[in-house]
């Protein structure tokens, strides 16, 4: 987590957790949640345990 950064400004990200995996709680594996960059005001979703840190314009095209 400490080496994660916003792909745009390379600044720090804030984690918010919606769901954590029970048996992996001590590892802190986040299944669903998001990462927020205050500087860019961008929110990056975490789904199925994988943070989506694609730049916003590329993310939209994939959906």
């Amino acid at each position: 987590m400490e080496i994660l950064a916003c792909p745009m400004c390379k600044g720090d990200l804030e984690l918010s957790i919606e769901e954590e995996e029970e048996e992996e709680k001590e590892k802190g594996e986040v299944v669903k949640g998001s990462l927020y960059c205050r500087k860019c005001d961008l929110r990056y979703p975490i789904e199925e345990g994988i943070p989506n840190l694609l730049p916003p314009e590329l993310r939209q095209k994939s959906e």
Binding site: L4, P7, K10, K27, L54, K61
Partner: protein, 276 residues
């Protein structure tokens, strides 16, 4: 082809490979799904039998050109970043080397590939491997945060290679090393191949001249770049490789032309170190 179109096509191509479990480099080929063939090709590109057995089944999609040199250099406790990690094959091999104190981060822009990688990580109980959906041109990592950047036959797919090298340089710690394996050209490819989407996704038309590739690396800040290994593709490889075959058929390319193309392409393993 413009950059946006290239990115879309590459993602779509590899998403398809992830879903169908095809074992080769191009989305057009559906002929080589068998695990045995995947293993065969893997051995040819330099992975040992032990390495192939060590990773969960399904992780080895054989989309790379082999990166055993980079893997061999990885030490216990290191943080390793894999650019274009796909289904996670190299990540899992690296994970065994760094041990519990180290960590591996795989970045890939295809969510279907990452879903597979995560599944494989669970199957193999790899606690020190994590995957992120991201672009290698815009790495979601802090400056000076990793010891080694590895990449196996991926950078050729990027429409902005200069930026990929700059990003790799940025995230490396001082003294950290970039160890990549990729396809480069010794001669320019004919136009009809350059314009082919299939050949692009199949790691061919995105490749650039070797000198240009090394120049971009140097411009990113790597002072002394060493080519560790260079392997050309003999025509037999082209003739027996399902990916190459599919591309040839798609382009209706005669064998003479294919020979010419084969002679223009080479696979290199390169190493660069970020100054202390």
């Amino acid at each position: 082809m413009d950059d946006e179109k290239i990115k879309r096509e590459v993602r779509a191509g590899y998403a398809k490979i992830a879903k169908e479990g095809s074992s080769c480099c191009a989305p057009v080929s559906s002929c080589c799904g068998s695990t045995h063939l995947a293993e065969d090709i893997s051995k040819r590109i330099g992975y040992s039998e032990e390495e192939l057995k060590a990773v969960p089944e399904g992780a080895n999609l054989v989309l790379g050109c082999g990166n055993p040199v980079a893997l061999a250099s990885i030490k216990e406790g290191e943080t390793v970043l894999d650019l274009g990690s796909g289904a996670g094959f190299d990540c899992f091999l690296a994970a065994d080397r760094v041990g519990t104190e180290g960590r591996i981060i795989g970045v890939d822009m295809t969510s279907e590939m990452l879903a597979k990688a995560r599944e494989n990580a669970e199957k193999g109980n790899y606690d020190n491997v994590e995957f992120r959906l991201g672009e290698i041109e815009n790495l979601p990592l802090a400056d000076n945060s990793v010891d080694v950047v590895i990449s196996n036959c991926v950078i050729n797919l990027s429409p902005n290679k200069a930026r990929v090298f700059k990003e790799a340089f940025r995230v490396l710690k001082p003294g950290g090393r970039l160890m990549i394996s990729d396809i480069v050209l010794l001669k320019e490819l004919p136009d009809f191949i350059k314009d082919s989407v299939e050949a692009y996704v199949g790691c061919l038309s995105g490749a650039i001249m070797k000198e240009e590739y090394l120049k971009l690396m140097a411009e990113a800040g790597f002072p002394d770049i060493r080519i560790m290994d260079e392997t050309s593709f003999p025509i037999e490889y082209i003739a027996n490789d399902p990916t190459a075959k599919a591309i040839l058929e798609d382009l209706e390319m005669p064998i003479e032309k294919a020979k010419e193309v084969a002679g223009s392409v080479t696979s290199i393993k390169v190493r660069g170190v970020k100054p202390e």
